[in-house]
């Protein structure tokens, strides 16, 4: 346990001390604050855009931080060989994977929560009351971050860090475009294409499963079955990714 704890602590501290983090935080805060100024332009939709945009900003912040800071840390570990002294200690490779995951995960968790609380504050200042209902988005953003982190770790376990960051972005984009792919699969006439599209739809991580922002912003009743499915999906997908990562990482050479 103390070995995983040491890696978690190190990853957390290292992530926190990345300068790029500051840029991401400022950018997100700007988006959140900006959403207030967009309110008057949103006509009938008035109280919604501030909510939707704020939640989207916090979620985007979580994923971007995961990809950018995650890639930076992995880059140091592998390309700059900071991991060598760690690997020579009596520590399992699986402990390293898990420690990295939990360390970065905890960091992003805290930062996303901070962003959501600032969002609440902005709503409070604008409307005179909080809207804690929106915080339901938090666990789902974290599930999305977990899957993205799993993808990053998976690619870093066998490929270069450049490829890892590229794949991070690609999977993020694809992950949110999968509903469109499904639509395509349902409507296309060519049976071969249909099968391929469905195959991709079911295998690739569907990040849209974690998006309940519309429902939350419009205070629509939340689809309970979808919430439960989303939680199971996120946890299972992440565990699977970490498991495969560990299998590959255990075989990895450090040339």
């Amino acid at each position: 346990m103390h070995r995983i704890k040491a890696i978690i602590e190190n990853t957390f501290k290292e992530g926190l001390r990345q300068r790029i983090l500051l840029l991401l935080i400022v950018f997100t805060l700007l988006l959140i604050v900006m959403s207030v100024f967009l309110e008057p332009f949103a006509l009938g939709e008035s109280p919604k855009i501030m909510r939707d945009l704020g939640l989207a900003a916090a979620s985007l912040f979580g994923v971007l931080t995961t990809i950018i800071v995650g890639s930076a840390l992995i880059h140091k570990d592998i390309e700059k060989r900071t991991l060598y002294t760690v690997l020579a200690k009596p520590v399992r490779r699986s402990e390293i994977v898990l420690g990295k995951f939990l360390g970065l995960g905890a960091l992003v968790c805290l930062l996303v929560l901070a962003m959501l609380l600032i969002h609440q504050l902005v709503i409070f200042l604008y409307e005179g009351s909080f809207d804690f209902h929106l915080l339901i988005a938090f666990p789902f953003t974290i599930l999305e971050v977990g899957v993205m982190l799993g993808i990053l770790l998976l690619f870093s376990s066998f490929s270069s860090t450049t490829l890892t960051s590229i794949m991070g972005v690609i999977f993020f984009v694809i992950g949110h475009a999968l509903p469109d792919l499904k639509l395509f699969a349902e409507t296309t006439k060519a049976p071969a294409l249909k099968h391929i599209a469905y195959a991709f739809y079911y295998v690739l991580p569907n990040l849209d499963n974690f998006n309940f922002r519309m429902d939350l912003a419009y205070k629509a009743p939340l689809p309970t079955d979808q919430l439960i499915f989303s939680i199971c999906y996120g946890i299972m997908y992440t565990v699977f990714l970490l498991y495969v990562t560990t299998l590959i990482f255990e075989r990895r050479e450090f040339k």
Binding site: R3, I7, K76, T85, V86, L87, A88, P90, V91, E253
Partner: protein, 276 residues
């Protein structure tokens, strides 16, 4: 009669086994390399080049062994195989009779990589603390402070590694390797890139550890490095061990003793191969 013979034979057999086992335990090598081969390709379309061409070597417990050879001879590759960072294509490497990948083996070693680059956001103390935890040393603050003092970094303990000098990094790297008082130290080019004072400090550390009975395996491409500290040296050229033995014996064969790097000597001897 037959019965007596039989019991005698059995007794003898048992005795032999005990003796052989005793010798085996006594002589259990700190490092054993058996015909290690390893190839690399630089690009996937290129042909593989064999970097290690059958390295066989035994490092005995308690000795200081200098693994010498010019740049590109395969020293780092060999050390990576010993520490389990890479695997040999064929052959076998063991540490105290165990596979490098086993946790028990790694519990007993300390490793300083070549031109190490550490987590620069950590302070010297934090860095050692993490490596202590990874070595299963909890509540190791006292040990860490002692190590910082030993490598002369006690005043830099709260400084982030990003502002450490080359020599300081090398010393914190050695401190990290010394955590948990390992039985075997593996140091890849511990003296390279240091000024004469830095070299002296590290050599003194090696000698201190030697006095404690620690086995030390270190690589260098500079011959005089080995003189002061080594019991034995091995000379590796182009992935093959050319010479193993006491340095004094090898020097009689015409190795240079002055401050020129082994490189020049190697260049001359590669041109007329077969010095042994």
């Amino acid at each position: 009669m037959l019965f007596r013979d039989l019991t005698n034979t059995i007794c003898d057999l048992v005795l032999y086994k005990v003796i052989i086992l005793g010798i085996f335990l006594e002589m259990e090598n700190a490092i054993r390399l058996e015909d290690i081969r390893r190839s690399f390709k630089n690009h996937f379309w290129q042909k593989e080049t064999e970097v290690l061409k059958g390295i066989t070597l035994d490092i005995h417990p308690g000795e200081v062994f200098g693994f010498l050879g010019p740049n590109g001879a395969g020293k780092t590759t060999t050390i990576k195989i010993i520490t389990g960072l890479i695997r040999p294509d064929s052959g076998r490497a063991t540490i105290f009779g165990m596979a490098p990948s086993s946790l028990q083996a790694r519990q007993r070693i300390g490793f300083l990589p070549e031109s190490p680059y550490f987590y620069e956001h950590l302070t010297g103390f934090e860095f050692l603390k993490i490596h202590a935890s990874l070595s299963n040393r909890i509540n190791a603050d006292q040990e860490i402070n002692g190590l910082l003092e030993r490598v002369g970094l006690d005043r830099a303990r709260k400084v982030q590694l990003r502002s450490y000098s080359r020599g300081m990094l090398q010393r914190i790297g050695i401190a990290q390797a010394l955590i948990g008082a390992p039985d075997l130290l593996i140091l890849d080019e511990p003296l390279t890139g240091l000024d004469p004072i830095g070299r002296k400090e590290i050599k003194d550390l090696i000698l201190e550890e030697k006095k404690k009975g620690t086995t030390i395996f270190f690589s260098s491409h500079i011959l005089p490095d080995a003189e002061a500290v080594c019991d034995r040296v091995g000379i590796v050229i182009e992935g093959q061990i050319r010479e193993v033995g006491k340095l004094s014996d090898l020097l009689k064969k015409g190795l240079p003793t002055d401050e020129i790097s082994l490189e020049e000597w190697f260049v001359r001897h590669i041109q007329k191969p077969g010095i042994s």
